[in-house]
C-alpha cells in the first residue's frame, strides 16, 4: 500500500536519455555498498567481534582505527564492513521475497474470481492494520531473534503492501485492450502473466521494491534499538548506532559513521527509485 503513493518527478540535472545524474550517483553509492556487503567481511582489517583496544573505548578517528573504536573497543570500520551484509542483504532479500509472494498472490487475485480477490484483499488488509514495529516485536519475542526468524517476520510483514501494489498495477493493466486481445487469441493464463502483465508492471514493481527496501532497512535498525534485531557480536548498522548511542553527545565516530552509512544507503535507494518511477511515467 505504501506503493500507492507515486514519487516526485526527478531533478532536472539529467543525462540525456538516461537516468538523472543524481540517480546515477545513487546507483553508484548503492553498488558500492552492495560490494561491501559481499566482500566486506573479507576486506575488514579486524574480525567484527575482536577487542582491538579494550581500554580506549569510543575512541576518535585515528590512523590505526580510521573510524575509531566502539563502546567495547572494537574497530568501527571493520564492524561497518561486516555489518553491511545484514543492512544491505537482509532488506534486499526480504523485500525480494515479499515482492515475489505479493506478485504470486496479486496476479492470482487479478485472474481468479472476485470472491477470492475480495477474501484475499481483506486478509491482507487485516495484516496491514497492525503497526509493523509492534508486530515484529511480538513475533521476535515469541520466536527468538535468529536471522531466519527476522527474515520471515519482515517478509510476512511486507507481503500485504507488495500484494496491494501488484494487484492495483495488474488490474490496471489487465483492463487494457491488449490483454483482452490476448484472451480472445486464446492465450493461456501463464502466457498472459509472463508476456503481457509482468513486463508492463515491472517498473512499478521495481519502484515498490526500492521503497520496501528503505522501510525494511529502517525497521531493522529500529528493532536493533529495541534490542530485537541482529544479535551481537554481529550487528547491522542500526545496531551499531544504537549500541554506541552514549557516544552521540561526545561526537564519537562510532555513532556517526554507521548512521551516515545507513542514511547514504537509504538516500541512494530513494534516488534510484526516483529514476525508475520517472521512466514509468514517461510514455
Amino acid at each position: 500500500m505504501i506503493g500507492a503513493r507515486s514519487l516526485p518527478r526527478p531533478l532536472r540535472l539529467r543525462r540525456p536519455g538516461g537516468w538523472p545524474l543524481l540517480s546515477l550517483a545513487g546507483a553508484a553509492v548503492f553498488a558500492f555498498w552492495a560490494g561491501i556487503a559481499v566482500f566486506g567481511g573479507l576486506l575488514a582489517p579486524h574480525a567484527p567481534g575482536e577487542f582491538v583496544d579494550s581500554w580506549d573505548t569510543l575512541a576518535p578517528v585515528s590512523a590505526q582505527y580510521p573510524l575509531g573504536t566502539d563502546y567495547l573497543g572494537r574497530d568501527v570500520l571493520s564492524r561497518i564492513m561486516a555489518g553491511a551484509k545484514y543492512t544491505v542483504g537482509l532488506p534486499f532479500l526480504t523485500a525480494g521475497l515479499a515482492l515475489f509472494a505479493g506478485l504470486v498472490l496479486g496476479v492470482s487475485a487479478t485472474l481468479m474470481r472476485d470472491a477470492f480477490d475480495t477474501a484475499l484483499s481483506w486478509l491482507m488488509d487485516t495484516f496491514n492494520s497492525l503497526p509493523s514495529t509492534i508486530f515484529a516485536m511480538v513475533a521476535v519475542a515469541g520466536f527468538g531473534t535468529s536471522i531466519p526468524v527476522l527474515a520471515t517476520v519482515i517478509t510476512v510483514l511486507y507481503i500485504p503492501s507488495a500484494y496491494r501494489n501488484v494487484r492495483a498495477a495488474a488490474q490496471t493493466v489487465s483492463r487494457l485492450d491488449f490483454i483482452d486481445a490476448a484472451r480472445v487469441r486464446g492465450e493461456s493464463s501463464l502466457y498472459i502473466i509472463f508476456r503481457e502483465i509482468l513486463p508492463n508492471i515491472l517498473p512499478n514493481l521495481l519502484t515498490h521494491f526500492g521503497i520496501m527496501f528503505i522501510y525494511i532497512a529502517l525497521l531493522l535498525s529500529g528493532l536493533s534499538f529495541l534490542g530485537l534485531g541482529i544479535q551481537p557480536p554481529e550487528a547491522d548498522w542500526g545496531a551499531l548506532v544504537a549500541e554506541n548511542m552514549v557516544g552521540l553527545s561526545y561526537g564519537a565516530p562510532a555513532v556517526f559513521a554507521p548512521a551516515l552509512c545507513l542514511i547514504s544507503l537509504t538516500v541512494s535507494m530513494t534516488l534510484m527509485v526516483d529514476a525508475v518511477s520517472r521512466r514509468r511515467k514517461e510514455p
Partner: protein
C-alpha cells in the same frame, strides 16, 4: 453512501475479530508466562504454581480464548496480569496520552507537509524544491530513534530550551503541556513530514499536468490557484489515503519516541506487556491499534469519496 459505511464497519468488525484471534494465538505461543516473569530468578515451583492458578494460566487455551472473547463482547478486557488492575483502567490512563501525541504530530505534520509539497510542486526544480526534497529524503531516511535522540541533544542538553523528558502528568497548564510535548512531536513529525511532503509534491505535479488544470491555467488562473482549487480537490483522495498510511508509520515511530522521552503512552505499554507476558494488556493494545488503523482508512475513504463525485455512485 450510508450503505457503504455500514458495509465497511461490518467488515472492520470482522477484521478486528480476526486480529484478536491471531494475536491470541501468537501470544499463546510466546515462551514463558506472566507468573514466571513476575517471580523471575526467585521463582520456586510452589510459588510459581500458586501464582499461575491465581492468574488462571492453568486453564486450557480454548477456554481462555472463549472467556476472553466473551469478556470483550461485554466490554470487559479482564485484569492485567502484571499488576492486577483492570485492563480498561491501565489503558485508560495511557490512551489519551498517545492520542494527544499522535494528534499534535498530525496537526503539525499535515499542514507543514502540504504547504511544503504544494510550494515545491509550484516551482519544480527550484532551489527551494531541491532543498525541500533533500531535507525530506534525509528525514525519512534517518532512523526515528536517532532523530529523537538528536533532538534531545540539540534542544535540551546543549541549549536547555525544552525538557528532555516528557513528564506529561506533571505538566502545568496549556503552555506547560506544549513545552513538554514539543520535542516528542518534533521528533515524530519530522519523518512523517518528509514522507508526506514528497507524496504531496508528486501527486500535485501529476495533477497539474492533467488537461483540465492546464486548461484552467491557460484561461488565466494562477498556477497556485489552479493547484488549490482544481487539482487539489481531485487529488484529495490519494493524499488523504497516503496520509493515513504515513500515520500508520507514525504509530510505529511512536514506540521509539515513547521509550526515549519516557512518555507514558500506549506503545510503551505494549512493549512492556510483551516483556512481562501480560497478555490481556498486550491483546487489548493490539486491538486498539488495529481499530485505530481501520478507522483511519475508513475516514480516508470517505473523504476520498466526498471529494470525488465520480466515486460517490460506486459504493
Amino acid at each position: 453512501m450510508t450503505r457503504l459505511i455500514a458495509k465497511r464497519l461490518l467488515l472492520g468488525l470482522l477484521t478486528l475479530w480476526l486480529v484478536a484471534t491471531l494475536v491470541f494465538a501468537v501470544s499463546g505461543a510466546l515462551p514463558g508466562d506472566a507468573a514466571a516473569s513476575i517471580l523471575g530468578q526467585d521463582a520456586t515451583a510452589e510459588t510459581l504454581a500458586a501464582l499461575r492458578a491465581q492468574m488462571g494460566l492453568d486453564d486450557p487455551l480454548a477456554l481462555r480464548y472463549a472467556h476472553w472473547l466473551g469478556g470483550i463482547l461485554q466490554g470487559d478486557f479482564g485484569l492485567s496480569l502484571a499488576n492486577g488492575r483492570p485492563v480498561a483502567e491501565v489503558i485508560g490512563t495511557r490512551l489519551p496520552n498517545s492520542l494527544l501525541l499522535a494528534g499534535l504530530s498530525t496537526l503539525v505534520a499535515i499542514p507543514v507537509s502540504l504547504a511544503l509539497g504544494i510550494a515545491s510542486a509550484m516551482r519544480p526544480d527550484s532551489v527551494f524544491d531541491r532543498l525541500t526534497t533533500f531535507l525530506s529524503v534525509l528525514a525519512l531516511s534517518t532512523p526515528s530513534f536517532l532523530i529523537a535522540t538528536l533532538t534531545v541533544l540539540v534542544f535540551s542538553v546543549w541549549s536547555g530550551l525544552l525538557p528532555a523528558l516528557s513528564n506529561i502528568d506533571r505538566a502545568e497548564g496549556f503552555g506547560g503541556t506544549l513545552r513538554v510535548m514539543a520535542l516528542p512531536v518534533l521528533a515524530l513529525s519530522l519523518s512523517v513530514i518528509g514522507q508526506m511532503a514528497r507524496m504531496t509534491r508528486a501527486i500535485l505535479i501529476g495533477a497539474l499536468s492533467e488537461p483540465y488544470v492546464e486548461t484552467a491555467i491557460l484561461k488565466g488562473t494562477s498556477p497556485l490557484r489552479a493547484a488549490i482549487l482544481h487539482a487539489l480537490p481531485n487529488m484529495a483522495g490519494p493524499i488523504v489515503n497516503a496520509s493515513a498510511l504515513s500515520l500508520n508509520a507514525l504509530i510505529s515511530g511512536v514506540v521509539f519516541v515513547e521509550v526515549i522521552f519516557a512518555y507514558p503512552g500506549l506503545t510503551k505499554l505494549m512493549v512492556d506487556s510483551v516483556a512481562t507476558r501480560d497478555l490481556p494488556v498486550m491483546q487489548a493494545c493490539a486491538l486498539i491499534f488495529c481499530a485505530g488503523f481501520l478507522i483511519l482508512v475508513l475516514v480516508a475513504d470517505i473523504v476520498a469519496i466526498l471529494a470525488n463525485p465520480r466515486l460517490r455512485s460506486a459504493g
